[in-house]
Structure formats: C-alpha cells, structure tokens
C-alpha cells in the first residue's frame, strides 16, 4: 500500500517536472521576438532588408566613431609633430582588392563585395583589440578616445556577425575562403620612442577611418542594389 502511494506521488512529481520543463522551453521560445517571416524563407528569421538596415546603421556608427577618434587624436597629438602624411603608410588591408570608385563598386558582384566587406571586418578584428588596449598606455589619453576604441571594437564584432548572417542568406554557392589580411603592426604600437609610437597610432587610426568609410559605402551600395533595387 505504501509503495503504491509512493509510486503515485513520484509519478505526480515527475509529471509536474515535465510540465514545468516543457513550459520553460516553450516560454523560452516565446521570449525571443519572432520577426515577420519573409516570403519563401525556410527559417522564420529577420528579413534581409532588416539585416541590411542594421548593418548599415552599425557601419555608419563605426565610421562616425573612427572619424571622431582620428580628429581628436590629430588635434591633440599630431599637431606640431609633422604627422601630416604626405604618403600615408599603407594600411594592412591594402592587400585586399577593393573597388576604388563607383563604377567598380557597381560592376562587382554583390557576393564578392560582401566577401570583401567581411574580409575587411575580419582583418580589423585583431587590430581593434590591440588598439583598445594600447591606447590606454598613451600618456594622458583622453577618456573619449579610450571608450570609443572599446566601442568600435565591440561594434565591429557585431557587424561581422550580422554580415556573416547576410552572407549566409545571400550566398547560394559555397561560402568561399575566409580571406583576411593579417595585421602585424602591434610592435609599432609598443615602440619605446614616444613620437614613433604616436605616429604608429596616427597611421592606424587613419587607416581605420578610411576602411570604415569603405565598409559603410559598400554596404549602402549593396543595400540599395539588393533591397531597394538601386532606388534608395
């Protein structure tokens, strides 16, 4: 008799647990907002247009921050040091073949362009991490520069993730090699000579501004082409 009652109670407890777990799982699914599913999409996910919108917003934000960082750095450290680069030292992403003007950008295939953008973002992953850490060692670095470098590094990661999603959506064929440029400028950021060190920072920030502008432009072109049918 007691065993029967024990069995019954244990069964009840198990049932309760099962109900709870299922409830949790179901509600967990429900917690995440389910966006509107685009037509024909297998997975009910964010639409491509919305992905591009977010990507463009992020890229614009990153470019905005890097412009400000460069301007602040230039104003504070570069004046009077002759950093005006007559011939800017090549950025590490120069090895990547990127469209240099509008015609080239329009002629390139969108998938290739996306790949280029992703490659660039990947190339900047490492430098941004080091930049955020090395900037703090600069003497009397302004607070704005410090937090902006950290912010850029974060947003860059997010943008990369978003673009990888887009690539996953857009690419019909194989994804392609993961190409990116290796950055080897870390020793220059850690030079003992203050002037040389600052010049290395100046160059890196200059390259960052330029590449963020490139990425922003490419994404806008892609968005207008793919989403708005070249009629933004």
């Amino acid at each position: 008799m007691t065993t029967m009652s024990n069995k019954g109670s244990s069964l009840k407890g198990l049932l309760v647990v099962v109900l709870l777990v299922s409830n949790i799982l179901l509600t967990k699914e429900g917690v995440t907002s389910l966006p509107i599913c685009p037509n024909g999409s297998v997975n009910c996910q964010v639409s491509l247009g919305e992905l591009f919108d977010r990507a463009v917003k992020l890229s614009h934000y990153i470019h905005f921050l890097s412009s400000e960082i460069f301007n602040e750095f230039d104003e504070r450290y570069a004046q009077g040091r002759g950093f005006i680069t007559k011939a800017v030292n090549g950025c590490h992403t120069s090895s990547l073949t990127t469209p240099e003007d509008k015609e080239q950008a329009q002629q390139i295939h969108h998938e290739d362009l996306l790949n280029i953008v992703v490659a660039m973002l990947r190339s900047w992953n490492d430098p941004l991490i080091h930049l955020a850490s090395e900037v703090q060692s600069i003497k009397e670095a302004p607070e704005t520069i410090l937090w902006k470098t950290v912010e850029i590094e974060e947003q860059n990661k997010r943008l990369l993730e978003g673009l990888e999603k887009i690539v996953g959506r857009v690419h019909t064929g194989e994804t392609g090699n993961e190409i990116y440029s290796q950055w080897e400028g870390l020793p220059s950021l850690q030079l003992a000579d203050e002037d040389s060190r600052l010049f290395a920072f100046y160059n890196l920030l200059h390259c960052l501004r330029r590449d963020s502008h490139k990425i922003d432009n490419y994404l806008k072109v892609l968005k207008c082409r793919l989403i708005h049918d070249s009629n933004c």
Binding site: H63, A87, K102, R210, K220, S230
Partner: protein, 613 residues
Amino acid sequence: MDLWYLLFTLALVCANDSLSASDDLLRWPQISKCRSPELETFSCYWTDGNFYNLTAPGTIQLLYMKRNDEDWKECPDYITAGENSCYFNTSYTSIWIPYCVKLANKDEVFDEKCFSVDEIVLPDPPVHLNWTLLNTSQTGIHGDIQVRWDPPPTADVQKGWITLEYELQYKEVNETKWNKLKPELSTMVPLYSLKMGIDYEIRVRSRQRTSEKFGEFSEILYVSFSQIGVEFVHCAEEIEFPWFLVGIFGSCVLAITVILILLSKQPRLKMLIFPPVPVPKIKGIDSDLLKKGKLDEVSSILASHDSYKTQLYSDDLWVEFIELDIEDPDEKKRVSDTDRLLSEEHLKSHSCLGAKDDDSGLASCCEPDIPETDFSASDTCEAISDIDQFKKVTEKEEDLLCLDRKENYESLPSLANTDAQQPRVSTRSGNSQPWPPFAGSTDSASPLIHAQLSHQNTLTTTDFYAQVSDITPAGRVVLSPGKKSKMGRAQCEGCMEQNFTMDSAYFCEADVKKCIAVTSHEEEEPRVQEQSCIDNAYFTTESLTTTGINLGASAAEVQAPSSEIPVPDYTSIHIVHSPQGLVLNATALPVPDKEFNMSCGYVSTDQLNKMMP
C-alpha cells in the same frame, strides 16, 4: 582702447608700407582648396599671387601623384573647373587613395597638398525647393508647411554611393537671423506654426553624412501665404489684455463687498453670518452699567444673587458668621443698608481704601493720607468697593451713633424702632451677632437701655456684635457695640478707631484694650469727642496703638486711671433681675467658662443661651 587704436594704426602703416613695397614682396601661388562634390570627381583651385606679373609668365602647373605612382603627373583638365583650377574626372579619381598635388612651375614648387578624395567631399546645394501647406490653425493665424527639395543632381544618392544630410534654415523676411533646423537625412521637412501674415525665406544646404563641412546653400525659397489664396484674418498677434474680463471681475468683487457691508449693518444677518463670540457675563448685569459707573444698579443685581454674597467672602477664612435673616417690618422703614452703603459710595473716591500699614498690599494703591480700614478679604482695590461702601456707611453710622448719644433721650423714641434692627449681614462682613437676640429680648428694658441697645443695635447693624461693657448703678446696662461700638465708643471717648479687618471686626486685638479699658470704666455717658468723631472712622493699627497710648494719657485726664483690665470679649450675666434690669458683670472673668469660645469676642448663641438663665 587707446592701445588697440595705436596698434591698429601701426598695422595700417605697416600694411601701407608692405603694399607700397608690394612689388618687392612676392606672394606665392597657393592651393586654396580641393573639393569633390559627389565622391566621383574632384578639382583643385589655387591662387596666383603676384608672381605671375613679376617674373616671366611661366606656366604654373599642378602636379599630382597617387600613392602608388612613381612620379608626378600633370593636371588633366585646367579648364572645366574654371580659372586656376584643375579638374579630375572619374577616370582620374580614385577614392580612398591618397593623392598629393603640388603647384609648381619648372623651377620651383609653390605649394603641396596631400589628401584622399573621401576627405574632401563638399556636396552641391540641393535643388528644386518648394513648399506646400499642411494645415492651418483654427484661428487662422498660424499654419504648417512642408518644404521639399531634391538632392544635388551630381550626387548619386539613389545608388547609395553617397549619403547626404541636409540642413534647413528659415527666417522671416524682415529678420536677419536664420533659424536652423537639425540636419536630417530626408529631403522633406515640415515647418510648424508659421505666421500666416508674414513671408518667410528658406534655404537648404547639404553635407556628406559623416563630414562636418557643409556645402553651399541652395537658392532661397520665398514662402508667402497670400500667393496660394489662403484667407488670412488680420488678428492681433499678441493676446490683448482682457479688459472685459477684468471689468466683470472687478464689478463682481465690488458687488460682493457692498453686500457684505450692508449685511454687516443689519444685526440679524450679522448674527447669522458672524455669530457673536460668547464672553463671560453675569446674568442681568450689563457691562455698560459698570462702565457708566452705576454701581447701585449693579449692586442691586448682585445682591439678588446669592452666589455673590458667598463669593465675596468665600475666601475669607477667618470669618465665621451666622447669617441671620430675621424679618422685621420696622426695618423697612429704615433705609436699607444696601442703600446706605451705596449712598456713601460717592462720598469716597473709588480709589481703593488701603491701609497705611498692612500686609495685604493695598497700601501701594491708596492715598497715604487716608487711613482706612483694611479688609484682608479684599485683595484688589476694586474688590473692596463694596466693602468701602460698607465702611463708609458704618463710619457714618458711627458718627450717627456718636451724635445720637448726645441726644440720646430725645431721639429715643425715634430710635426705638431701631432696637430690633437686624444685623443683616448680607452687605457686610458677617460676624456673629450674639447680642441682638439678647437686645431684642430686652424690650422691657429701660428706654435708656433701649436707647442704648438701640444704639447698640444700630451699631450692631453695622457692627458684628455688642457686648456689655458696663452696668451703671442706675441699672443701666452699657453695651458696647463690639468693635465698631467700641470703636464708636472709643471714638466718642476720643479713641481713634483702629484699623480693623473684616474678620476681626470684633476685638481680638490687644491694641485697643487700652481704649476699651478707658471706655469700660466710664460711668458716664460716653461723650462724644469731636476730635475723635471724624469722618474717617478707620484707622490703622499703628495709629491705634499710638493713639491708644495717647488716649490712655488723655483718658487719664478725663477719668479715673484706667486699670489695665483686659476687657473680655464677652460679659457674663451675673444677675438677672426682673425684666427691669439685667446686671452684667462687666469685669467678666478673664477666663470664662470653658464652654465659651475663646475666639475673639465671639459668643455663639448656644453659649449665650447657657449664659442666660
């Protein structure tokens, strides 16, 4: 200011010098700016300087070099962008690639600049500005418009190659300062709450989204509401002061005030609206009476209040009195004590009757030359106003008594009615009146006695008790009317009345014993001594003591030397004759029976009954 003026003149002079010697000084050609309007082409502009005039007209060249190039190249187009300019078309333009341009001739380099094209973007101004009316306010004074424009035609916004943001500025035609709106991406901007009767000017400029520099302003757009035929009612811009409302409000306030004033006049309504605050009041007594000084009315009212009687003497702990209330019709013939009291009121000033020397503190508020009886029961001057009246009356009675004694027999019949004068203690401090019953019972006594008694009674009406002070061989019983009577006697005998307190109206003081002793042994009719019968019958104890001594001295002249026989406050009845007489042992036992109350001169009726056979 003077310093600045001096510096300015110096600068002018130098400039003049420099200008005058401008031929010697060369101004080098400079690259003023390099600009790309749409991120596809760019052009550079320079200034000549005066070099061109001075030296041989060597051509100035603009050389450029891309980063990857090895040497300098010359400008491809000097014409398209105008004079002293170099135009790079799309084939020569590469974005995100650093360029260097330099201005030079064959011999020397004048200027050099390095940049990349994405850094020098300055868009063209927007075109095709126009506006439409969105809606108007209900009053027709303000309206909302929407301004639209097209992006610069050179900028390829549609393909997303360049992103522009626009800044709109507007102002009224008469104003000088432009109102700026926040830069926006859209080419449509609403303007809210514009005044319909005024014309506006609008202009727009654009810039690349992440840049800071704006391009040139567009052409000014003129906004005039009358053009589109909108009905405009010329209303005053500012809200005028609402005089009408102010007038109405003011009139209402005035009306309310007038109504309130009118209501306050009418007592009924006033009672209704503003009920009176209850103030302490005695029934029947109007405060106006007191203010006017009509004390007789007040006292009559007070007399009707039993509570007042007890209150007046309630705090008088020394007083034990029996309130006798024996009706006597004859009494009515006499002026009531109250009246007598009150009639004397005006004789004495309302100044408080204080003693020269007393502990009650009344001396401070009293005239020093008016020694008066001090009543300890009265703490304030005003409180003893009635007492003062009483004093006055008693004093007058004393005088009367003194005078009556002179014409004792003459006025005997007239005074016969006074024998039964009841000692109404209602208006005076109550003291026991042990003798009145006794006095009343001696109706069969000799007229003299009657007279005496009447006198005594008269005095007892004002005084508290009567005591037998002497028995004449003729069978007369000389009753002294207690304190007052003693006083009166003393007065008649020349004694100065002493200052008595209300509670000790019957003798307790040994101060007057001398006086009494003098009077007690007197076998003659008490003579009235004028000097003693003064109006002011009240003396302080001090004066009494002094006078006592004097009296003692004077008495010695007048009569037999007084023996210091303490006059007891009571007299025992030794022999009771037939109704004709009553022999009283004047020299009563100093220590009477223990039954007797040894308190000051006060014999209770019970004791009296015991004394009486």
